[in-house]
Amino acid sequence: MWRSSHNRRGFTLIEAMVSLLLLVIVLTVAMTMLFQMRAFAERQQFFMLPRQAARRATEYLSYYVASASDVNDVQNNPNALITYYNLNGSVLQASYDNLTGAEPGNAVTTPNVTTKFGDIGTDVITLVAPINPAKYRVSAPFPGFSAGAKSIRVNFRVGCGGPAGTDDVTNMAQFKAATGFDGANSALLMFEDTNGEWSYFQIPAAGYISSNCADVTTYRNILVQAVIQSATLPAPPNGGVAAFSDPVSLVTGLQFISFRVRTDPVDNLPKLQQKIGLFNPNTDNPGVEFVNVMENVEDLQVAYVYANGDIWNNTAGQTISQANAGARCNVAACDNRVPPQAGPGAVTQEALDVTGVIGLRFSITARSPRISIGARQLTNVNVTDVLTTTTSQHFRPASENHPVTMDTLAPLRPLYDLFDHYRATSTMLLRNRTLGS
Protein backbone atom coordinates (compact mmCIF):
# COMPACT_ATOMS: atom_id res chain seq x y z
CA MET A 1 0.00 0.00 0.00
CA TRP A 2 1.29 3.40 -0.92
CA ARG A 3 1.34 5.99 1.89
CA SER A 4 1.91 9.60 1.44
CA SER A 5 5.02 10.88 3.09
CA HIS A 6 4.41 14.54 2.66
CA ASN A 7 2.76 16.83 5.28
CA ARG A 8 3.92 14.55 8.15
CA ARG A 9 5.77 17.17 10.04
CA GLY A 10 4.63 17.86 13.67
CA PHE A 11 4.07 21.22 15.42
CA THR A 12 6.91 23.60 15.54
CA LEU A 13 8.20 24.35 19.02
CA ILE A 14 6.42 27.71 18.99
CA GLU A 15 3.12 26.15 17.98
CA ALA A 16 3.38 23.48 20.66
CA MET A 17 4.24 26.06 23.33
CA VAL A 18 1.37 28.33 22.33
CA SER A 19 -1.01 25.38 22.31
CA LEU A 20 0.14 24.23 25.72
CA LEU A 21 -0.01 27.74 27.10
CA LEU A 22 -3.57 28.16 25.93
CA LEU A 23 -4.50 24.78 27.35
CA VAL A 24 -3.00 25.69 30.71
CA ILE A 25 -4.89 28.99 30.73
CA VAL A 26 -8.17 27.31 29.90
CA LEU A 27 -7.65 24.60 32.50
CA THR A 28 -6.54 27.09 35.13
CA VAL A 29 -9.63 29.18 34.64
CA ALA A 30 -11.83 26.09 34.64
CA MET A 31 -10.24 24.57 37.71
CA THR A 32 -10.32 27.86 39.60
CA MET A 33 -14.01 28.19 38.91
CA LEU A 34 -14.59 24.57 39.83
CA PHE A 35 -12.78 24.82 43.15
CA GLN A 36 -14.48 28.11 43.93
CA MET A 37 -17.83 26.53 43.23
CA ARG A 38 -16.97 23.61 45.47
CA ALA A 39 -15.93 25.97 48.26
CA PHE A 40 -19.10 28.04 47.80
CA ALA A 41 -21.22 24.92 47.93
CA GLU A 42 -19.44 23.73 51.03
CA ARG A 43 -19.81 27.16 52.61
CA GLN A 44 -23.49 27.14 51.75
CA GLN A 45 -23.84 23.77 53.44
CA PHE A 46 -22.26 25.06 56.65
CA PHE A 47 -24.47 28.13 56.39
CA MET A 48 -27.66 26.10 56.00
CA LEU A 49 -27.07 23.29 58.51
CA PRO A 50 -27.58 25.36 61.68
CA ARG A 51 -30.63 27.03 60.12
CA GLN A 52 -32.18 23.69 59.29
CA ALA A 53 -31.35 22.25 62.71
CA ALA A 54 -32.76 25.27 64.55
CA ARG A 55 -35.96 25.36 62.52
CA ARG A 56 -36.39 21.59 62.81
CA ALA A 57 -35.99 21.68 66.57
CA THR A 58 -38.35 24.63 66.80
CA GLU A 59 -40.99 22.77 64.83
CA TYR A 60 -40.48 19.71 66.99
CA LEU A 61 -41.01 21.65 70.21
CA SER A 62 -43.92 23.64 68.76
CA TYR A 63 -46.01 20.49 68.54
CA TYR A 64 -45.69 19.85 72.27
CA VAL A 65 -46.04 23.48 73.34
CA ALA A 66 -49.08 24.23 71.22
CA SER A 67 -50.88 21.12 72.42
CA ALA A 68 -49.76 21.21 76.07
CA SER A 69 -52.71 20.20 78.23
CA ASP A 70 -53.61 18.03 81.19
CA VAL A 71 -57.20 17.79 79.86
CA ASN A 72 -58.45 19.73 82.88
CA ASP A 73 -60.86 22.19 81.33
CA VAL A 74 -62.42 23.12 84.67
CA GLN A 75 -59.27 24.86 85.86
CA ASN A 76 -57.90 25.75 82.43
CA ASN A 77 -55.22 23.06 82.27
CA PRO A 78 -53.35 23.98 85.45
CA ASN A 79 -50.67 21.30 85.09
CA ALA A 80 -49.95 21.69 81.37
CA LEU A 81 -46.62 23.29 82.22
CA ILE A 82 -44.78 21.77 85.14
CA THR A 83 -42.20 23.69 87.08
CA TYR A 84 -42.48 21.83 90.39
CA TYR A 85 -43.86 18.60 91.78
CA ASN A 86 -43.64 16.62 94.97
CA LEU A 87 -41.88 13.31 95.43
CA ASN A 88 -41.54 11.50 98.71
CA GLY A 89 -42.33 14.67 100.61
CA SER A 90 -39.77 16.78 98.79
CA VAL A 91 -40.59 19.50 96.31
CA LEU A 92 -38.61 18.91 93.12
CA GLN A 93 -37.99 21.38 90.34
CA ALA A 94 -38.96 20.21 86.85
CA SER A 95 -38.08 23.26 84.74
CA TYR A 96 -34.96 25.41 84.95
CA ASP A 97 -33.64 28.68 83.63
CA ASN A 98 -30.01 29.16 82.57
CA LEU A 99 -28.38 26.18 84.28
CA THR A 100 -25.26 27.08 86.20
CA GLY A 101 -24.41 23.86 88.01
CA ALA A 102 -25.27 25.42 91.36
CA GLU A 103 -28.82 24.09 91.40
CA PRO A 104 -29.59 21.55 94.14
CA GLY A 105 -28.45 18.16 92.89
CA ASN A 106 -26.56 19.65 89.96
CA ALA A 107 -22.84 20.20 89.39
CA VAL A 108 -20.56 21.29 86.60
CA THR A 109 -19.16 18.30 84.74
CA THR A 110 -17.14 20.09 82.05
CA PRO A 111 -16.12 23.62 83.01
CA ASN A 112 -17.73 26.32 80.84
CA VAL A 113 -19.62 23.68 78.87
CA THR A 114 -21.97 21.39 80.70
CA THR A 115 -23.51 20.39 84.00
CA LYS A 116 -25.15 17.18 85.10
CA PHE A 117 -28.60 18.51 84.19
CA GLY A 118 -27.68 20.12 80.88
CA ASP A 119 -25.33 22.56 79.23
CA ILE A 120 -24.40 25.72 81.08
CA GLY A 121 -26.78 28.59 80.40
CA THR A 122 -29.51 26.47 78.80
CA ASP A 123 -33.06 25.93 80.04
CA VAL A 124 -34.97 22.78 80.93
CA ILE A 125 -38.70 22.53 80.37
CA THR A 126 -41.27 19.94 81.40
CA LEU A 127 -44.79 19.87 80.05
CA VAL A 128 -47.72 17.58 79.40
CA ALA A 129 -49.00 16.78 75.93
CA PRO A 130 -52.12 14.70 75.40
CA ILE A 131 -51.31 12.04 72.82
CA ASN A 132 -54.41 9.88 73.13
CA PRO A 133 -56.38 11.52 75.92
CA ALA A 134 -59.46 10.05 77.54
CA LYS A 135 -61.33 10.50 80.79
CA TYR A 136 -63.00 7.63 82.61
CA ARG A 137 -65.40 8.10 85.50
CA VAL A 138 -64.25 6.71 88.86
CA SER A 139 -67.03 5.19 90.91
CA ALA A 140 -68.04 7.29 93.91
CA PRO A 141 -67.08 7.66 96.62
CA PHE A 142 -63.46 8.32 95.83
CA PRO A 143 -61.44 6.47 98.47
CA GLY A 144 -59.35 9.39 99.67
CA PHE A 145 -55.65 9.98 100.07
CA SER A 146 -54.77 8.08 103.23
CA ALA A 147 -51.89 5.61 103.19
CA GLY A 148 -52.22 2.11 101.79
CA ALA A 149 -53.55 0.59 98.62
CA LYS A 150 -57.03 1.71 97.65
CA SER A 151 -59.61 0.01 95.53
CA ILE A 152 -60.69 2.14 92.63
CA ARG A 153 -63.48 1.17 90.27
CA VAL A 154 -63.57 2.70 86.84
CA ASN A 155 -66.32 2.91 84.25
CA PHE A 156 -64.37 1.40 81.38
CA ARG A 157 -66.19 -0.82 78.88
CA VAL A 158 -64.15 -0.51 75.70
CA GLY A 159 -63.52 -4.27 75.58
CA CYS A 160 -66.99 -5.34 76.68
CA GLY A 161 -69.63 -6.68 74.33
CA GLY A 162 -67.84 -9.78 73.10
CA PRO A 163 -68.69 -13.38 73.93
CA ALA A 164 -69.55 -13.85 77.59
CA GLY A 165 -66.58 -15.07 79.58
CA THR A 166 -63.98 -13.61 77.27
CA ASP A 167 -65.00 -9.97 77.18
CA ASP A 168 -63.62 -9.35 80.68
CA VAL A 169 -60.21 -10.51 79.50
CA THR A 170 -60.50 -8.29 76.47
CA ASN A 171 -61.71 -5.38 78.58
CA MET A 172 -58.79 -5.64 80.99
CA ALA A 173 -56.37 -5.82 78.06
CA GLN A 174 -57.97 -2.72 76.59
CA PHE A 175 -57.75 -0.95 79.93
CA LYS A 176 -54.06 -1.80 80.21
CA ALA A 177 -53.53 -0.43 76.74
CA ALA A 178 -55.46 2.73 77.54
CA THR A 179 -53.39 3.33 80.68
CA GLY A 180 -50.10 2.73 78.88
CA PHE A 181 -49.16 -0.42 80.82
CA ASP A 182 -45.59 -1.44 79.95
CA GLY A 183 -45.45 -4.75 81.81
CA ALA A 184 -44.38 -3.21 85.11
CA ASN A 185 -46.43 -0.06 85.58
CA SER A 186 -48.97 2.06 83.82
CA ALA A 187 -47.90 5.35 82.34
CA LEU A 188 -48.16 8.33 84.63
CA LEU A 189 -51.87 9.13 84.90
CA MET A 190 -53.92 11.83 86.57
CA PHE A 191 -57.06 12.12 88.66
CA GLU A 192 -59.25 15.19 88.29
CA ASP A 193 -62.27 15.88 90.43
CA THR A 194 -65.41 17.79 89.67
CA ASN A 195 -63.81 21.06 90.78
CA GLY A 196 -60.71 20.57 88.67
CA GLU A 197 -58.49 19.55 91.60
CA TRP A 198 -55.93 17.05 90.44
CA SER A 199 -53.30 14.52 91.40
CA TYR A 200 -50.94 12.06 89.76
CA PHE A 201 -51.59 8.32 89.68
CA GLN A 202 -49.86 5.16 88.52
CA ILE A 203 -50.98 1.54 88.53
CA PRO A 204 -48.44 -1.25 89.21
CA ALA A 205 -48.74 -4.63 87.49
CA ALA A 206 -50.32 -6.19 90.57
CA GLY A 207 -52.87 -3.40 90.73
CA TYR A 208 -54.85 -4.48 87.66
CA ILE A 209 -57.30 -6.66 89.61
CA SER A 210 -60.35 -7.52 87.54
CA SER A 211 -62.88 -6.58 84.93
CA ASN A 212 -66.63 -6.95 85.31
CA CYS A 213 -68.43 -6.25 82.05
CA ALA A 214 -71.66 -7.63 83.51
CA ASP A 215 -72.15 -4.53 85.66
CA VAL A 216 -74.45 -2.40 83.56
CA THR A 217 -76.15 -0.66 86.47
CA THR A 218 -73.35 1.00 88.41
CA TYR A 219 -70.71 0.56 85.67
CA ARG A 220 -67.98 -0.45 88.06
CA ASN A 221 -66.30 -2.39 85.30
CA ILE A 222 -62.61 -2.22 86.14
CA LEU A 223 -61.14 -2.71 89.58
CA VAL A 224 -57.63 -1.50 90.28
CA GLN A 225 -55.80 -1.36 93.57
CA ALA A 226 -52.98 1.09 94.03
CA VAL A 227 -51.60 3.52 96.51
CA ILE A 228 -52.79 6.99 95.64
CA GLN A 229 -50.31 8.80 97.83
CA SER A 230 -47.05 6.96 97.51
CA ALA A 231 -43.49 7.77 98.33
CA THR A 232 -42.51 6.69 94.87
CA LEU A 233 -45.23 8.48 92.95
CA PRO A 234 -45.19 12.15 92.02
CA ALA A 235 -47.69 14.38 93.73
CA PRO A 236 -48.73 17.97 93.17
CA PRO A 237 -46.13 20.43 94.41
CA ASN A 238 -48.10 21.26 97.54
CA GLY A 239 -48.94 17.61 98.18
CA GLY A 240 -52.39 18.00 96.68
CA VAL A 241 -55.81 18.62 98.15
CA ALA A 242 -56.97 16.81 101.27
CA ALA A 243 -59.87 15.14 99.49
CA PHE A 244 -61.49 15.00 96.07
CA SER A 245 -65.09 15.88 95.42
CA ASP A 246 -66.99 13.30 93.45
CA PRO A 247 -67.29 12.64 90.61
CA VAL A 248 -63.63 12.00 89.94
CA SER A 249 -62.17 11.12 86.53
CA LEU A 250 -59.15 9.05 85.64
CA VAL A 251 -57.24 10.81 82.85
CA THR A 252 -55.19 8.64 80.51
CA GLY A 253 -53.22 9.23 77.34
CA LEU A 254 -51.09 12.07 78.68
CA GLN A 255 -47.43 12.29 77.77
CA PHE A 256 -45.26 13.95 80.38
CA ILE A 257 -42.17 15.10 78.56
CA SER A 258 -39.02 17.01 79.47
CA PHE A 259 -36.54 18.74 77.16
CA ARG A 260 -32.99 19.83 77.74
CA VAL A 261 -29.78 20.54 75.82
CA ARG A 262 -26.68 18.63 76.82
CA THR A 263 -23.32 17.96 75.22
CA ASP A 264 -23.00 14.25 74.56
CA PRO A 265 -19.73 13.02 76.08
CA VAL A 266 -19.54 10.29 73.44
CA ASP A 267 -19.05 12.60 70.44
CA ASN A 268 -18.81 15.96 72.19
CA LEU A 269 -21.77 17.35 70.22
CA PRO A 270 -24.47 19.42 71.93
CA LYS A 271 -27.86 17.79 71.49
CA LEU A 272 -31.51 18.42 72.16
CA GLN A 273 -32.61 15.62 74.46
CA GLN A 274 -36.00 14.51 75.69
CA LYS A 275 -37.31 12.28 78.42
CA ILE A 276 -40.75 10.75 78.60
CA GLY A 277 -41.55 11.67 82.19
CA LEU A 278 -41.04 14.45 84.68
CA PHE A 279 -37.56 15.88 85.00
CA ASN A 280 -36.15 14.44 88.21
CA PRO A 281 -33.10 16.27 89.58
CA ASN A 282 -32.28 13.22 91.71
CA THR A 283 -31.91 10.87 88.76
CA ASP A 284 -31.52 12.97 85.60
CA ASN A 285 -27.97 13.94 86.51
CA PRO A 286 -27.42 13.11 83.69
CA GLY A 287 -29.14 9.74 84.12
CA VAL A 288 -30.12 7.33 81.41
CA GLU A 289 -33.69 8.35 80.66
CA PHE A 290 -32.97 11.28 78.37
CA VAL A 291 -32.52 10.32 74.74
CA ASN A 292 -31.01 12.37 71.96
CA VAL A 293 -33.45 14.01 69.57
CA MET A 294 -31.27 16.27 67.41
CA GLU A 295 -27.59 17.03 67.33
CA ASN A 296 -25.83 20.37 67.05
CA VAL A 297 -28.52 22.10 69.11
CA GLU A 298 -26.58 24.18 71.60
CA ASP A 299 -29.17 26.32 73.38
CA LEU A 300 -32.80 26.12 74.45
CA GLN A 301 -34.30 29.25 75.93
CA VAL A 302 -37.82 29.66 77.23
CA ALA A 303 -39.59 32.96 77.90
CA TYR A 304 -42.96 32.81 79.63
CA VAL A 305 -45.86 34.84 78.20
CA TYR A 306 -48.55 35.66 80.76
CA ALA A 307 -52.22 36.31 80.20
CA ASN A 308 -51.77 40.02 80.91
CA GLY A 309 -49.25 40.31 78.08
CA ASP A 310 -46.13 40.35 80.24
CA ILE A 311 -43.18 38.31 79.06
CA TRP A 312 -40.68 36.98 81.59
CA ASN A 313 -37.21 35.48 81.32
CA ASN A 314 -36.51 37.44 78.14
CA THR A 315 -33.86 39.72 79.65
CA ALA A 316 -31.73 39.70 82.77
CA GLY A 317 -33.84 42.42 84.35
CA GLN A 318 -37.05 40.63 83.44
CA THR A 319 -35.96 37.25 84.79
CA ILE A 320 -38.29 35.89 87.43
CA SER A 321 -37.00 36.58 90.92
CA GLN A 322 -38.30 38.25 94.02
CA ALA A 323 -36.09 41.25 93.33
CA ASN A 324 -37.31 41.69 89.76
CA ALA A 325 -40.94 40.76 90.21
CA GLY A 326 -41.61 42.34 93.59
CA ALA A 327 -45.13 41.69 94.76
CA ARG A 328 -45.90 39.67 91.66
CA CYS A 329 -43.64 36.86 92.84
CA ASN A 330 -42.76 37.07 96.48
CA VAL A 331 -41.88 33.55 97.59
CA ALA A 332 -38.51 31.86 97.77
CA ALA A 333 -39.29 29.63 94.76
CA CYS A 334 -39.29 32.72 92.54
CA ASP A 335 -35.54 33.00 92.99
CA ASN A 336 -35.16 29.75 91.06
CA ARG A 337 -35.92 31.90 87.99
CA VAL A 338 -38.89 29.87 86.75
CA PRO A 339 -42.58 30.47 87.48
CA PRO A 340 -43.63 29.10 90.87
CA GLN A 341 -46.27 26.38 90.93
CA ALA A 342 -48.38 26.50 94.06
CA GLY A 343 -50.40 23.42 93.22
CA PRO A 344 -54.09 22.61 93.33
CA GLY A 345 -56.50 23.55 96.07
CA ALA A 346 -57.21 26.81 97.82
CA VAL A 347 -53.60 27.90 97.99
CA THR A 348 -52.23 31.38 97.62
CA GLN A 349 -50.88 31.80 94.14
CA GLU A 350 -48.29 34.32 93.14
CA ALA A 351 -49.22 36.51 90.18
CA LEU A 352 -46.46 34.80 88.22
CA ASP A 353 -47.67 31.30 89.07
CA VAL A 354 -47.17 28.96 86.13
CA THR A 355 -50.92 28.53 85.75
CA GLY A 356 -51.04 32.12 84.48
CA VAL A 357 -48.74 31.40 81.55
CA ILE A 358 -50.66 31.37 78.27
CA GLY A 359 -47.78 31.05 75.86
CA LEU A 360 -44.12 30.25 75.50
CA ARG A 361 -41.58 32.02 73.39
CA PHE A 362 -38.79 29.56 72.95
CA SER A 363 -35.57 29.94 71.06
CA ILE A 364 -33.33 27.24 69.69
CA THR A 365 -29.74 27.99 68.81
CA ALA A 366 -28.05 25.47 66.56
CA ARG A 367 -24.59 25.30 65.10
CA SER A 368 -22.93 23.82 62.05
CA PRO A 369 -20.26 21.14 62.14
CA ARG A 370 -16.77 22.57 62.49
CA ILE A 371 -16.13 24.61 59.34
CA SER A 372 -13.71 22.96 56.94
CA ILE A 373 -10.50 24.66 55.89
CA GLY A 374 -11.78 25.27 52.37
CA ALA A 375 -14.94 26.95 53.57
CA ARG A 376 -13.08 29.07 56.12
CA GLN A 377 -11.53 31.05 53.29
CA LEU A 378 -14.96 32.34 52.40
CA THR A 379 -15.96 33.35 55.88
CA ASN A 380 -14.19 35.62 58.21
CA VAL A 381 -13.34 33.17 60.96
CA ASN A 382 -10.40 35.19 62.16
CA VAL A 383 -12.52 38.20 62.97
CA THR A 384 -11.41 40.29 65.93
CA ASP A 385 -14.34 42.71 66.03
CA VAL A 386 -15.90 43.60 69.34
CA LEU A 387 -19.41 42.41 70.05
CA THR A 388 -21.09 45.74 69.36
CA THR A 389 -19.80 46.00 65.80
CA THR A 390 -19.26 42.44 64.66
CA THR A 391 -21.18 40.98 61.77
CA SER A 392 -19.64 37.55 62.26
CA GLN A 393 -21.82 34.59 63.12
CA HIS A 394 -18.98 32.52 64.55
CA PHE A 395 -20.12 32.72 68.14
CA ARG A 396 -23.25 31.61 69.96
CA PRO A 397 -25.67 34.55 69.79
CA ALA A 398 -27.55 35.97 72.74
CA SER A 399 -30.93 34.39 73.25
CA GLU A 400 -33.61 35.69 75.63
CA ASN A 401 -31.89 36.04 79.04
CA HIS A 402 -28.86 33.97 78.01
CA PRO A 403 -26.16 36.48 77.07
CA VAL A 404 -23.29 35.97 74.67
CA THR A 405 -20.26 34.28 76.22
CA MET A 406 -17.41 36.77 76.08
CA ASP A 407 -13.76 36.02 75.41
CA THR A 408 -11.95 36.09 78.73
CA LEU A 409 -8.74 37.24 77.04
CA ALA A 410 -10.45 40.05 75.14
CA PRO A 411 -13.49 40.98 77.22
CA LEU A 412 -15.12 43.14 74.54
CA ARG A 413 -15.13 40.32 72.01
CA PRO A 414 -17.55 37.42 71.90
CA LEU A 415 -15.98 34.01 72.22
CA TYR A 416 -15.41 33.28 68.51
CA ASP A 417 -15.21 29.69 67.32
CA LEU A 418 -15.13 27.70 64.09
CA PHE A 419 -18.87 27.07 63.76
CA ASP A 420 -21.76 28.85 62.13
CA HIS A 421 -24.54 29.59 64.60
CA TYR A 422 -28.20 30.38 64.08
CA ARG A 423 -31.06 31.14 66.43
CA ALA A 424 -34.71 30.43 65.58
CA THR A 425 -37.53 31.67 67.78
CA SER A 426 -41.13 30.58 67.99
CA THR A 427 -43.94 32.18 69.95
CA MET A 428 -46.64 29.67 70.75
CA LEU A 429 -49.92 30.08 72.53
CA LEU A 430 -50.78 27.20 74.82
CA ARG A 431 -53.88 26.53 72.74
CA ASN A 432 -55.64 24.60 75.48
CA ARG A 433 -55.33 27.48 77.92
CA THR A 434 -57.14 29.79 75.56
CA LEU A 435 -60.33 27.79 75.25
CA GLY A 436 -63.46 29.88 75.15
CA SER A 437 -61.66 33.09 74.39
Binding site: A30, Q44, T427
Partner: protein, 192 residues
Protein backbone atom coordinates in the same frame (compact mmCIF):
# COMPACT_ATOMS: atom_id res chain seq x y z
CA UNK B 1 -6.71 3.57 -1.00
CA UNK B 2 -5.13 6.90 -0.42
CA UNK B 3 -5.17 8.10 3.19
CA UNK B 4 -3.99 11.31 4.71
CA UNK B 5 -1.86 10.68 7.80
CA UNK B 6 -0.85 14.19 8.62
CA UNK B 7 -1.69 15.44 12.19
CA UNK B 8 -3.91 18.36 13.20
CA UNK B 9 -2.91 21.77 12.12
CA UNK B 10 -2.29 24.54 14.64
CA UNK B 11 -5.54 26.19 13.65
CA UNK B 12 -7.42 22.95 14.27
CA UNK B 13 -5.90 22.60 17.73
CA UNK B 14 -6.82 26.17 18.59
CA UNK B 15 -10.32 25.60 17.36
CA UNK B 16 -10.63 22.43 19.42
CA UNK B 17 -9.43 24.19 22.55
CA UNK B 18 -11.84 27.04 21.98
CA UNK B 19 -14.71 24.60 21.76
CA UNK B 20 -13.48 22.84 24.90
CA UNK B 21 -13.27 26.16 26.73
CA UNK B 22 -16.79 27.07 25.70
CA UNK B 23 -18.11 23.68 26.84
CA UNK B 24 -16.25 24.00 30.15
CA UNK B 25 -17.62 27.45 30.76
CA UNK B 26 -21.11 26.14 30.03
CA UNK B 27 -20.69 23.26 32.43
CA UNK B 28 -19.27 25.47 35.16
CA UNK B 29 -22.09 27.92 34.69
CA UNK B 30 -24.44 25.15 35.70
CA UNK B 31 -22.71 25.07 39.08
CA UNK B 32 -23.25 28.77 39.64
CA UNK B 33 -26.86 28.55 38.48
CA UNK B 34 -27.52 25.69 40.88
CA UNK B 35 -25.85 27.68 43.66
CA UNK B 36 -28.14 30.63 42.98
CA UNK B 37 -31.18 28.35 42.90
CA UNK B 38 -30.02 26.82 46.17
CA UNK B 39 -29.65 30.27 47.71
CA UNK B 40 -33.10 31.22 46.47
CA UNK B 41 -34.63 28.14 48.08
CA UNK B 42 -32.86 28.89 51.33
CA UNK B 43 -34.14 32.45 51.24
CA UNK B 44 -37.72 31.35 50.64
CA UNK B 45 -37.51 28.74 53.41
CA UNK B 46 -36.33 31.37 55.84
CA UNK B 47 -39.01 33.85 54.77
CA UNK B 48 -41.71 31.20 55.07
CA UNK B 49 -40.60 30.39 58.61
CA UNK B 50 -40.71 34.07 59.50
CA UNK B 51 -44.22 34.41 58.05
CA UNK B 52 -45.39 31.50 60.18
CA UNK B 53 -43.97 33.20 63.25
CA UNK B 54 -45.81 36.41 62.43
CA UNK B 55 -49.08 34.47 62.39
CA UNK B 56 -48.34 32.88 65.76
CA UNK B 57 -47.57 36.27 67.27
CA UNK B 58 -50.73 37.82 65.87
CA UNK B 59 -52.67 34.89 67.31
CA UNK B 60 -51.20 35.89 70.66
CA UNK B 61 -52.32 39.52 70.25
CA UNK B 62 -55.72 38.34 69.16
CA UNK B 63 -56.07 36.19 72.28
CA UNK B 64 -54.87 38.96 74.58
CA UNK B 65 -57.37 41.33 73.06
CA UNK B 66 -60.24 38.98 73.54
CA UNK B 67 -59.18 38.54 77.15
CA UNK B 68 -59.23 42.27 77.61
CA UNK B 69 -55.54 42.12 78.54
CA UNK B 70 -52.95 44.66 77.63
CA UNK B 71 -50.84 43.60 74.74
CA UNK B 72 -47.06 43.98 74.75
CA UNK B 73 -46.64 47.77 74.70
CA UNK B 74 -44.74 47.79 71.44
CA UNK B 75 -47.60 46.22 69.59
CA UNK B 76 -50.21 48.89 70.11
CA UNK B 77 -48.49 51.26 67.73
CA UNK B 78 -50.30 51.87 64.50
CA UNK B 79 -49.17 50.38 61.25
CA UNK B 80 -46.62 52.01 59.07
CA UNK B 81 -46.65 53.36 55.53
CA UNK B 82 -48.37 51.80 52.63
CA UNK B 83 -51.81 50.91 53.92
CA UNK B 84 -54.54 51.67 56.34
CA UNK B 85 -53.02 52.22 59.71
CA UNK B 86 -53.98 49.40 61.98
CA UNK B 87 -53.66 49.17 65.71
CA UNK B 88 -52.82 45.68 66.76
CA UNK B 89 -54.87 44.12 68.07
CA UNK B 90 -57.50 46.72 68.78
CA UNK B 91 -58.70 47.31 65.26
CA UNK B 92 -59.34 43.99 63.65
CA UNK B 93 -61.49 44.91 60.65
CA UNK B 94 -65.09 44.72 61.74
CA UNK B 95 -66.86 45.10 58.41
CA UNK B 96 -67.16 42.17 56.08
CA UNK B 97 -64.55 42.45 53.36
CA UNK B 98 -62.53 45.16 55.13
CA UNK B 99 -58.79 44.83 54.89
CA UNK B 100 -56.12 46.23 57.18
CA UNK B 101 -52.48 46.21 56.30
CA UNK B 102 -49.45 46.49 58.57
CA UNK B 103 -45.73 46.44 58.03
CA UNK B 104 -43.21 45.00 60.43
CA UNK B 105 -40.46 47.48 61.25
CA UNK B 106 -37.37 47.16 59.10
CA UNK B 107 -35.02 48.76 61.57
CA UNK B 108 -34.98 50.50 64.89
CA UNK B 109 -35.10 53.97 63.35
CA UNK B 110 -38.31 53.14 61.54
CA UNK B 111 -40.07 52.20 64.74
CA UNK B 112 -38.14 51.83 67.94
CA UNK B 113 -41.23 50.71 69.81
CA UNK B 114 -42.24 47.85 67.54
CA UNK B 115 -38.64 46.91 66.79
CA UNK B 116 -38.27 45.96 70.45
CA UNK B 117 -40.98 43.36 70.02
CA UNK B 118 -40.30 42.04 66.53
CA UNK B 119 -36.52 42.40 66.59
CA UNK B 120 -33.83 39.99 67.79
CA UNK B 121 -34.34 40.92 71.43
CA UNK B 122 -38.01 40.04 71.11
CA UNK B 123 -39.85 37.64 68.88
CA UNK B 124 -36.80 37.51 66.59
CA UNK B 125 -38.96 37.63 63.47
CA UNK B 126 -36.73 40.43 62.19
CA UNK B 127 -33.29 39.01 62.90
CA UNK B 128 -31.28 42.13 62.21
CA UNK B 129 -31.71 45.75 61.25
CA UNK B 130 -31.80 46.36 57.49
CA UNK B 131 -31.90 42.63 56.93
CA UNK B 132 -32.48 40.68 53.73
CA UNK B 133 -36.30 40.58 53.87
CA UNK B 134 -39.29 42.79 54.60
CA UNK B 135 -42.55 41.55 56.02
CA UNK B 136 -46.07 42.90 55.87
CA UNK B 137 -49.44 41.39 56.61
CA UNK B 138 -53.06 42.03 55.83
CA UNK B 139 -56.03 40.96 57.87
CA UNK B 140 -59.32 40.63 56.06
CA UNK B 141 -62.67 40.28 57.73
CA UNK B 142 -64.35 37.31 56.16
CA UNK B 143 -67.23 35.00 56.87
CA UNK B 144 -70.49 33.61 55.59
CA UNK B 145 -73.06 36.01 54.15
CA UNK B 146 -75.26 35.74 57.22
CA UNK B 147 -72.74 35.17 59.95
CA UNK B 148 -74.99 35.48 62.98
CA UNK B 149 -76.97 32.48 64.08
CA UNK B 150 -78.26 30.86 67.26
CA UNK B 151 -74.74 30.19 68.46
CA UNK B 152 -73.56 33.72 67.88
CA UNK B 153 -71.79 35.53 65.11
CA UNK B 154 -69.31 33.49 63.17
CA UNK B 155 -66.65 36.10 62.76
CA UNK B 156 -63.61 35.04 60.85
CA UNK B 157 -60.48 36.87 59.87
CA UNK B 158 -57.98 35.75 57.27
CA UNK B 159 -54.40 36.89 57.67
CA UNK B 160 -51.98 36.92 54.78
CA UNK B 161 -48.36 37.47 55.65
CA UNK B 162 -46.01 38.43 52.84
CA UNK B 163 -42.24 38.41 52.92
CA UNK B 164 -40.19 39.86 50.11
CA UNK B 165 -36.46 40.25 49.57
CA UNK B 166 -35.35 43.74 50.50
CA UNK B 167 -35.15 46.47 47.88
CA UNK B 168 -32.73 48.57 49.91
CA UNK B 169 -29.42 48.71 48.10
CA UNK B 170 -27.33 49.15 51.23
CA UNK B 171 -29.01 46.40 53.21
CA UNK B 172 -27.79 42.90 53.87
CA UNK B 173 -29.19 41.00 50.93
CA UNK B 174 -29.74 37.45 49.83
CA UNK B 175 -27.15 36.32 47.29
CA UNK B 176 -28.72 36.34 43.86
CA UNK B 177 -32.18 37.03 45.25
CA UNK B 178 -33.75 40.45 44.94
CA UNK B 179 -37.18 41.97 44.63
CA UNK B 180 -37.24 41.40 40.87
CA UNK B 181 -36.44 37.71 41.24
CA UNK B 182 -40.02 36.98 42.27
CA UNK B 183 -38.94 35.20 45.45
CA UNK B 184 -41.91 36.53 47.40
CA UNK B 185 -43.50 34.28 50.01
CA UNK B 186 -47.16 34.50 51.07
CA UNK B 187 -48.53 32.63 54.06
CA UNK B 188 -52.24 32.49 54.76
CA UNK B 189 -53.95 31.56 58.03
CA UNK B 190 -57.33 32.02 59.62
CA UNK B 191 -58.60 33.27 62.96
CA UNK B 192 -61.83 31.90 64.34
Amino acid sequence: MKRTTRGSSFIEVLLAMTIMALVLVGILQMFSVSLIINKGSAARTQMLFKCQQVVENVRLFYHLTRQGSTTPPAITESGHVGGTAMTIPGALPDVLGDVSKSFLPYNQAESAATWGYWGPAGANVMEQENGPYKISYTIRRDGPPNPCGPSGCQNMWVITVSATPTDVATATRYFGVDLKSGKRVDYVAQFP
